[in-house]
């Protein structure tokens, strides 16, 4: 198929950046979206033009590295699919495709289509863990975890940290990402002792970097792992509890 690509180019964080247009002629249906960009890069190299920088690694939808805004949609048109899993058969001959980086205040552009998502790591560092120093735990089967709780925690834990939720949100909010980690840990028995402290700490750091949530719900439809917006409700509930109650006593309950 023949395609016209409008790709965002930006030499560095301080550069203004602009769109560049490229025509591609021999794109096969079988190619993945990123392989299509590989072809373009190969051609740019032959023309002596620096390749387009884009982030990717596993190319099977699990590492969360790929991060392209395709025709205004994070990860493109296919629901529940990361950029790297998208194939060209989802496009038509003659299409024009606009490719941009995630656009969010908390994710500064590094170069071209690559952004810095380290703010997510700051949220996890604030409390996205269960304190369990190596060597201290008891036998794993002494902690009973109801299957439903394990399954629900797994649904939340499936988040790949890609940032599409933030890119999709008109406010640049990170509620879906943060609540996914809180949902994972707060649903498990092991996560109870630190539940409220964790929620408060993570939400506080989230608010330092990201915009606030006004319930647009765009995040859920952009999420390649279809993380449910219900986790945001759970987070809000826990956050309210953490503010209202005596935290120290809660932790000891």
């Amino acid at each position: 198929m023949k395609l016209t690509l409008k790709v965002w180019r930006q030499a560095g964080p301080q550069d203004k950046g602009q769109f560049e247009t490229h025509q591609l002629d021999d794109i096969s249906d079988e190619m993945s979206f990123l392989e299509m960009l590989d072809v373009l890069n190969e051609r740019l190299n032959q023309q002596g033009v620096e390749e387009i920088a884009f982030d990717h690694d596993c190319r099977e939808g699990i590492c969360g590295t790929c991060s392209l805004m395709i025709n205004g949609q994070p990860h493109g048109p296919q629901r529940g699919t990361a950029t790297c899993q998208l194939h060209m058969r989802k496009f038509n001959d003659g299409d024009t495709i606009v490719i941009e980086p995630w656009r969010a205040k908390a994710f500064p552009i590094i170069r071209d289509l690559v952004v810095n998502r380290s703010a997510f790591d700051r949220i996890i560092e604030a409390g996205g863990y269960i304190t369990a120093p190596t060597g201290s735990p008891q036998d794993a089967n002494e902690i009973l975890v109801p299957k439903e709780a394990a399954d629900a925690a797994m649904d939340a834990a499936a988040c790949i940290g890609c940032g599409a939720c933030v890119a999709a949100c008109p406010n640049g909010a990170a509620q879906l990402f943060t609540s996914a980690k809180l949902g994972h840990l707060n649903l498990l028995p092991q996560g109870q002792p630190e539940r409220l402290k964790r929620t408060e700490a993570m939400v506080d750091v989230m608010e330092q970097y990201f915009g606030s949530c006004t319930n647009y719900g765009e995040c859920e439809s952009a999420c390649p792992k279809s993380i449910s917006i219900d986790f945001i409700a759970q987070m809000n509930r826990d956050f309210a509890s953490s503010k209202l109650r005596n935290r120290r006593l809660q932790g000891q309950r």
Binding site: A11, G12, S28, E30, M31, S32, L34, E35, D38, V39, N41, N45, G48, E50, A53, D55, D57, C58, R59, E60, I62, C63, G64, T65, Q85, H87, R89, I110, R111, V114, N116, R117, S118, D121, I124, G128, Y129, I130, T131, A132, P133, T134, G135, P137, D139, A140, N141, V145, P146, A150, A153, M154, A157, A158, G161, H184, L185, L188, Q190, G191
Partner: protein, 638 residues
Amino acid sequence: MQLNSGVPAGAIENRWDDHRFDMKLVNPSNKRKFKVIVVGTGLAGASAAATLAELGYKVDAFTFHDSPRRAHSIAAQGGINAAKNYQNDGDSIYRLFYDTVKGGDFRSRESNVYRLAQVSVDIIDQCTAQGVPFARDYGGLLANRSFGGAQVSRTFYARGQTGQQLLLGAYQALAAQISTGKVTLHNRVEMLDLVVKDGRAVGIITRDLLTGEIESHAAHAVVLATGGYSNVYYLSTNAMACNVTAAWRAHRKGAAFANPCFTQIHPTCIPASDEFQSKLTLMSESLRNDGRIWVPKKAGDDRKAADIPEDERDYYLERRYPAFGNLVPRDVASRAAKLEVDAGKGVGPLHNGVYLDFAHAIARDGRDAVVERYSNLFEMYERITGEDPEKMPMRIYPAPHYTMGGLWVDYNLQTTIPGLFALGEANFSDHGANRLGASALMQGLADGYFVIPYTLGNYLAGYLGTDPVSTDDPVFTEARSHVDAQTERFLSIRGSRSVDWFHRELGKIMLDKCGMSRSAEGLNQALAEIPALREEFWSDVRVLGGSQGFNQALERAGRVADFFELAELMCIDALNRNESCGGHFREEYAMEDGEAKRDDEHYQYVAAWEYTGDTAQPQLHKEPLDFDYVHPATRSYK
């Protein structure tokens, strides 16, 4: 170079306990006086860095990824083994040990494998406490599944995302330490050289991938947990950025590289669809429980699968291995598929696959039962190929997947350079010539959580009261200028071909001549082709852009340069090993029925190669292997 494995004496069940008692300790208040560099924050590196920091050491952790959560460990699907015997089906530490030694085709060190089986049970406890959402039964207890090469159910899993959940557990433990300041994380920073002074590892040279800045870091010890090298084949199931650079540059500085030719090819991957294919996707091995593998009997049969009648199909695994059928181990299944495709019976538009057919399972168990079992895999397959496995058989073909070879380490996981340790897939330690499914995650976490925290202390205790070497020391400035010179060289060649082009060409040679099956003739050809292509690379590669700032082509150029040297060593090692064992199959060394023929009399050793300055003339050192507990026998799956 002396190879001393340092394996403790005594009964195998007591060796690790005795050794832990005998090792020197560093008292808690002294631990903070030691600075440790951990390169790599995948399963092995993140677990090590977090645990060392919990103990009190000052840790500098490095990853070229933007976050530890992106390491390639994230992609592991199937599960992690542990000898818990929760299913009461006769598992034990000894059985896991036995299965692993046998599965490795008697080319691993018994003491290390026994320790691995011992600590496997602690790993599950540790990960559960961290909140890893392992699958549960209705009563709330942990669930297990079975995996290739074992007759018990000992594999723990978190849906099809076990690696992801284990890595997130380790990453979160690391994040907790980062927040206390005990670990300094250097993300998007790549190690480009190891610094050695008076024979000891004293630091590393890195490049900040965002700014291009070359930096020196000194420490009392350096730990490498930088993953495997399957990407030497270009097309593999590994993530695109996996590379051998850290291990290779340590090798050039004196660390022996062990058994480089021991690589694993996974039988069930989606075949390449065109020349632009950038990586191969693994489909879980569990599919072989219900799928039947076949090819048309007639070469070049282009009919659709549904139009080929039963009596014109060859279910070749069932025919050749009636006892194990479609469930033969990975290496056997892979070679069998290659034989069929090489004989012109490959299926699909490029004739580069074999069928994995679920029609019989669907007829037997019903569509819903089968689809429920494999829904995420069916969906993944359809996403990539556009074909529905319910309606037509899947096409699969083997792909490079895992590397058993790696930096040689002793029982303490120390390389031949004192002060340099290697963990996880980067070392050669526990899997011999073939790794069993669900054992890599186990080994990475065993190394990181439960082995290095003890053995590193034993080394460091000898350096109490010393400071790390100054980064102004000539050993650092020399190493830096070496790195600078390489960067300049890449940028000044301005040749005519991209880095990826060279990588693809190298991959073709390796897959063809040092892949699923090898022969002296092919290896000798490869040993002529690789240096020629490498020379072309160094005179004709085109790396655009500058040394400052973010430059992905420059990053890749350095990695591919190292793959070229590694590739040569792999072929030399494969040529040296005149036998077939595990993933290493030499066509000349086969039984009459085509099965692998091991030669214990001459090759029951670890081949550890020393860098001599000339990549064509590495020096071989042999670590003999003794089997006091599991007695070498021929693996048979007929």
